[in-house]
């Protein structure tokens, strides 16, 4: 019966199948599966690595951006403070200068006043002495003229005596 033949395995085929499959397993294992699986694994790892690197780069970028922003903020703050300081310094310098100027002016005015006072005094003193000298000279001259003759001198003496008597 041929149907039984369907279910009876042939020894030859078992032997050839076993040998053939082992050969296939060896050849494919060595020359195909090993490099293919290794390559697939490597590719997967490289893709994973690239993705991780990209993620890292993104993170780094964000960090860098944050750092930049911080830096900018700091710089801005510093600039502001510097400016403020500068303005303050300028103001103070101005104020100081003003004060100084007014002080100097005041002093100069005082000095001037004093000098004028002194000059005035000196001038007045000089005028007084000149006036005194002049009046002495005039008096001398007048006296010389008035008392040139004896009569006049005597009358004068008389007059003074009279005055004295009255006192």
């Amino acid at each position: 019966m041929i149907a039984a033949d369907l279910l009876s395995p042939g020894t030859g085929l078992i032997v050839y199948q076993a040998i053939g499959f082992l050969i296939l397993l060896f050849l494919l294992g060595k020359f195909a599966w090993k490099p293919i699986l290794a390559s697939l694994k490597e590719r997967e790892q490289s893709i994973e690595g690239a993705l991780l690197a990209a993620e890292q780069a993104k993170k780094d970028m964000t960090k860098l951006q944050q750092a930049n922003e911080q830096l900018l903020k700091d710089a801005r703050a510093e600039r502001d403070s510097l400016l403020k300081e500068a303005v303050a310094t300028a103001n103070s310098i101005k104020e100081e200068a003003k004060e100084e100027t007014s002080k100097i002016t005041a002093k100069m005015m005082e000095d001037a006043r004093l000098a004028i006072e002194n000059e005035k005094k000196a001038a007045l003193a000089e005028v007084k002495t000149t006036v005194a000298e002049l009046s002495l000279q005039i008096t001398e001259k007048i006296l010389r003229k008035e008392l040139a003759d004896k009569k006049a001198q005597e009358s004068l003496v008389d007059e003074y005596i009279k005055e004295l008597n009255l006192n």
Partner: protein
Amino acid sequence: MFGKPSKSYSKTLSINILAFFLLFLPVVSQAAPSGGGDKEEGATDFILHHVVDDYVWHFFDGHYGTIYLPVILYSQDRGLEVFSSHHFYGEHHELVAYNGYEIHDGHIAAVDHDRSITDLSITKNTAMLFVTMAVVLLLVLSAARHYKKNPNTAPKGVASFLEPIILYVRDEIAKPNIGKKYERFMPYLLTLFFFIWIGNILGLLPGAANLTGNIAVTFTLAVFTFIVTNVNGNKDYWKHVFATPGVPKPLLLIMVPVEFVGLFTKPFSLMVRLFVAITAGHIVILSLIGLVFIFQSHAAGVASTIMVTFINLIEILVATIQAYVFTLFSAMYIGAAVADHDHH
């Protein structure tokens, strides 16, 4: 038949399979209606001729349509004998005895029944095996060339065709079923998958032999899975078989034999599943073609052609599914043998 030892061996195996697969046999008996005319018998003969092994590879009738394959026999008294199977066929393609051998029930046997011989002939299926091997080698090695030449680039050509399948076997079959140790078994599983898949598909070609639907082939593949599984079985695996944890002592008397038989039923199911799925598919297609010769009408011809086309498409699906299933179950058996049973 073969020699005495192999004869008794194949008998017991046949009986086992017959007992196990009564389901399948009705298909055969339906295909071979008893007591039919010559036409019917001729039709069923051609069906069975197509699905069983043979010593010739018949493509079409006529002088050049048949390849006579080499017969290789080994016997203790005569040693190795190699000759063409042409000698077994007479002028009208009838079977004749040659050199003390004859073809009996599809196998070469000695006319003198006391002589025991080992048949190592290149049969139709053996030739088909070589063709399948060549195709698988060509396909896979040409894909491998891409990976060697341009590592770390996107696949191209054959590689892009095979890569999804390789990844599928790795990610969907090996990784989930075997676990961490999957890498060691990848070459076996991939070879298994591609051999069965290509074998199944090539078997569907007109004139091709029914290689993966041959019980010897599925038997050998199942034995490989059996060996790989049990050689790699760890302590937990064997403990599970011979001293199932968490089972009361008296129950072990039942459990241990059941578990032990289970070691063999697993590959046995692998063997039978592939054999039946592929052979049944071939028989269905051939039965539908056979209808044309039985009814000899145009209507039957048209109907059978349409049916055969559909069944062929289904068979392409079955070819892939069976390759997947065989690989999947192999991975599961291996996985059970190498798994670390932390949960026990």
